[in-house]
Symmetry: C2
Subunit: 188 residues, 2 copies
Amino acid sequence: MQDTKERIMAVARATAQAHGYGALSFRELAKAVGVRSASVHYHFPTKEDLGVALARRYREDAEAGLAAIAEASTDPAQCLRAYVGIFRRALENDNRMCMCGFMAAETDDLPEAVRAEVRAFADANVGWLANILSRTDGRDRSVHEARALAIYAAVSGAQLVARCRGGVAAFEAIVESYRASGLIPAGQ
Amino acid sequence: MQDTKERIMAVARATAQAHGYGALSFRELAKAVGVRSASVHYHFPTKEDLGVALARRYREDAEAGLAAIAEASTDPAQCLRAYVGIFRRALENDNRMCMCGFMAAETDDLPEAVRAEVRAFADANVGWLANILSRTDGRDRSVHEARALAIYAAVSGAQLVARCRGGVAAFEAIVESYRASGLIPAGQ
DNA sequence: ACCTGAACACCGTTCAAGT
DNA sequence: ACCTGAACACCGTTCAAGT
């Protein structure tokens, strides 16, 4: 049995990926974990504290996953396929989406500390993508970063749109269009 | 002075574009319009009724705007620039986003009738984009529809990402990458 | 036709108090 | 250290009553 704090974070992440930060409720989290809502406040004094912990952990996990992908293959196209796979798996997991993608929509309702973590998540994605793209040619870092941001935005949008229209199949079709148009390097 | 129902819809739209469907509250809407929450229920018996009316109107307005763009110019690249401009203006309007983009994130919390309207909005966008793309060449409709969906998703994602990271400038940079990569036809 | 006050059953959140 | 009861300020909804 995990400790209460970890179980709260796990349930909270799954909830935020399906319903957003705004839908995070101490009462429901407590019910799912088997304690009272006031007990959740013992571990996370405010909702902001929970949000910051969630977003930071989410980014750390993402960074670890991305590092593993970059080490598993030197082929940029293959790394990018694995990258897209992360977003696809969120949809496969009961139509969930990237937690920070949802939070991006909720920016105006986020405490500043949470928003900062959401930005850091985006930065980590863009930085990693730029590193992968720099394997394809020796152009300036700024060129790869611009394209990296575009890929991150496009894949996020594919996930968002597919979530309410077409599901995983639509997501795959959209990403295939990205490859066909040249936005995402597809190799060969 | 507009009538109360119209003023409620205007405030609700602006709110939903900034905070989502979930943040729509009859009490706050009432306060903004200067009536009591029970009066809002006179015009929209339930929140679902309000959501459906909002999303339907949003789609109708979008369809009218898109039709005007398609008639104002025969040049696909110019039409696509105008299309992107719609999304940019949402960001310029106090960092708001497409209402149906926000609602796409909230799919799981939407009454089915509202979700259907959100899908209809996406369909209208994709259909219009496919019409514009079909002006560029005579390939099959299905080819243009696939690309249209990809462009809709990519522009939605650019708006979502820019909303919490870089604002309008980031949005423009991302869209420029879409054009440079060939995802969005840029003319010449 | 349009609006309202009051009530209902709920909600997330907080915090002083328990063990 | 960990948990809780009770209170607070909300919410959508209903309905009888006003104009």
